[in-house]
Symmetry: C2
Subunit: 387 residues, 2 copies
């Protein structure tokens, strides 16, 4: 078991109607608020109006139009400018993981005098960040309970996971009813995203029995409740359990003391969506079973066997290689069954830039240190198999 240093100081306020506590929560942090959001779905569900009503009397500055795979330019830059100009006290992020990721980069940039890219690219270490509060409307990324954000810079095809302990939201409001209107495509992508977060932490050299059990429970819960959310988008219990499960995806609690994983599918997917701006969860779902097939060998076999038996209930008396193959097949079939396009061509990616992307990934993502080390050639093969 590896040594670790772990803390998640975020307060989770969870359940139907909890947003009523927003005024007392925000009052702790100040009166000048940057309200960040995306394309306007929060207006459709009445949440935008509700927030304004609850925060009447506060000075609210808005940054809207934050996109999926949030962009450094203009969103982060514009947010930082607004924070400085209006002497913002606290950021209120209302939306999904992309809005929150963007808000985190803004929070750090607002407390730094230079170019915010210095922080995101780890050239300079953040010394502070503005306080962040969020209201989550999409169960997927786990950004509401971790200190990371993923930011894309279009002109360089960079998509960087920016992690810093100053970036934990101080309070996350999680009301499952806000996810009732999330459509089939985004619900499925959220399931796949959270499942992949769990798998990335499960497939490692050494894991504790405890962490394996936690991860297997996550995967079973996400599959059962994910399906229920798709069948009945207003199933409160299913939406709630999916929302909570997603929350645990990226803060490390599923893998404390495990040996490192290297997050290979994320490494690959970040390039796919940097080059093609695809939906992150779909990209992960497409890559994952091909990555599994690529790394299955004598050394990794036992992990796949455990995964197959405990997650999919595959008969433990079968041959080990058969269990492993079935487990990969079940993974593929589950993603397919929830309506995810399982080929890169279906999301607009062809073979033309595979070499370029594989090179970019090999140079930038450190996958030679992953659980199953990946060279540029391996990466190109996995992407090719995913076409």
């Amino acid at each position: 078991m590896q040594n670790f240093d772990y803390m998640t100081p975020t307060r989770l306020i969870f359940g139907k109607g909890v947003v009523e506590k927003l005024p007392q929560v925000m009052a702790q942090f100040g009166n000048r608020i940057l309200l960040t959001y995306g394309g306007g779905s929060i207006k459709k569900i009445g949440l935008y109006q509700k927030v304004h009503e609850l925060l009447r009397g506060c000075e609210i500055v808005e940054l809207s139009g934050i996109q999926p795979n949030p962009k450094y330019d203009p969103s982060v830059l514009e947010g930082v400018r607004l924070c400085k100009e209006h002497k913002i006290d606290v950021i209120l992020s209302v939306g999904g993981g992309s809005v929150l990721d963007c808000s985190k980069a803004i929070a750090a940039g607002a407390c730094y005098d230079g170019d915010p890219w210095d922080l995101i690219s780890y050239k300079v270490k953040a010394q502070a960040a503005l306080p962040i509060v969020d209201i989550i409307t999409l169960a997927a990324t786990g950004s509401e309970y971790d200190c990371g954000g993923v930011i894309s810079r279009t002109e360089t095809n960079d998509k960087i996971g920016y992690i810093d302990r100053h970036l934990f939201p101080l309070v996350s409001f999680l009301d499952p009813t806000y996810t009732f209107t999330v459509n089939r495509k985004q619900t499925a992508a959220g399931i796949a995203d959270a499942m992949n977060h769990t798998m990335e932490q499960y497939f490692v050299e050494d894991a504790t029995l405890l962490n394996d059990g936690f991860c297997e429970s996550m995967l079973r819960s996400l599959m059962v409740n994910g399906r229920k959310c798709l069948e009945n988008p207003e199933d409160y219990t299913a939406r709630a359990e999916m929302m909570l499960a997603c929350t645990y995806g990226c803060n490390g609690i599923l893998a404390l003391g495990n040996s490192p994983s290297g997050w290979p599918c994320h490494g690959i997917e970040h390039a796919l969506s940097a080059y093609y701006d695809i939906t992150h969860g779909e990209g992960l779902a497409i890559i994952t079973p091909r990555w599994m097939q690529h790394i299955l060998n004598e050394r990794t076999l036992s992990r796949f066997v455990k995964y197959g038996i405990n997650v999919f209930g595959i008969d433990a008396s079968l041959d080990k290689w058969e269990i492993a193959s079935k487990a990969i097949e079940e993974t593929y079939k589950f993603f397919e069954s929830i309506g995810i396009p399982m080929h890169l061509r279906e999301v607009g990616i062809d073979e033309s830039r595979i070499g370029e992307m594989a090179h970019h990934i090999a140079v930038n993502e450190g996958l030679e240190n992953a659980y199953a080390p990946l060279t540029e050639k391996d990466i190109a093969e996995i992407i090719t198999a995913s076409l």
Copy 2:
């Protein structure tokens, strides 16, 4: 799924040798330290000397002799007096859960002008507490990751679970090697304590699939690794996994969104150890299977069936009542197999005060609101069955 409001801000620094970070951690909080510990085992393992060496230059005041089932008088009162007299900045608790529980009550009392019992008895709500750092030497209570402490007041036979959000340790150092010298009796009591914490949260009316999976993983891990710790007290991996599992016992993360449990075995055991000062984990292990037997009925049957299949691997095709009975029997047999005395008489409790204790529990512990509500008569029957 129930609404909840959850936060655990404690930083966990885990692994072999991590205590070397103590100076930089303590420096954040101040120079005047109250060092709290128990009967001297930390001197035998060299940890007392190590702490003094690492904190050379700090002003260290000591409170030693804190007992299991820590006492309000003298330990809490003396600690509060020392904090006020020496203007203590931070408390460093070195030992197991009892030392830390006592330190939490001291931390609150030190920031309050009146009688500290006002706080512990919830007459007055704490407004602040001194910062608390701990080094854990016994895997059991989970106090290192929660904001509660259990304090006994001998003259009134009170044993109160005092919970307040100010009482989270800010940093917990968890080095499994410090638990190598924990003897068989205390190791087994720690296993039983952490298992009971999990069971108390598992047996509820409504639980999520996710939480059930987490709890079942905890129980399997504690049984497998607990046995290994008893077989080879210096098995680092087993001691480490047991230490981490214990940490999750009481901070609520195993039951977020579940309906409440009422912690009935704790309610009963608190009186047993208030009246007879027995080892907490042993008391819990003795009570638990008798409580299970007492509450098994048509309404609770399905929980026992799930427990039996997923924790003990009992054949799911058997009759439900048979699975439930086997599950209770396996619970008893496991505790017995790790050397716990499974009858109250063996730990010095006879029938003479059962009525008095049952009355005390019925009046003070609110078990009429537990998952399976317990009257004074029920409580007396459970204790009698445990003799």
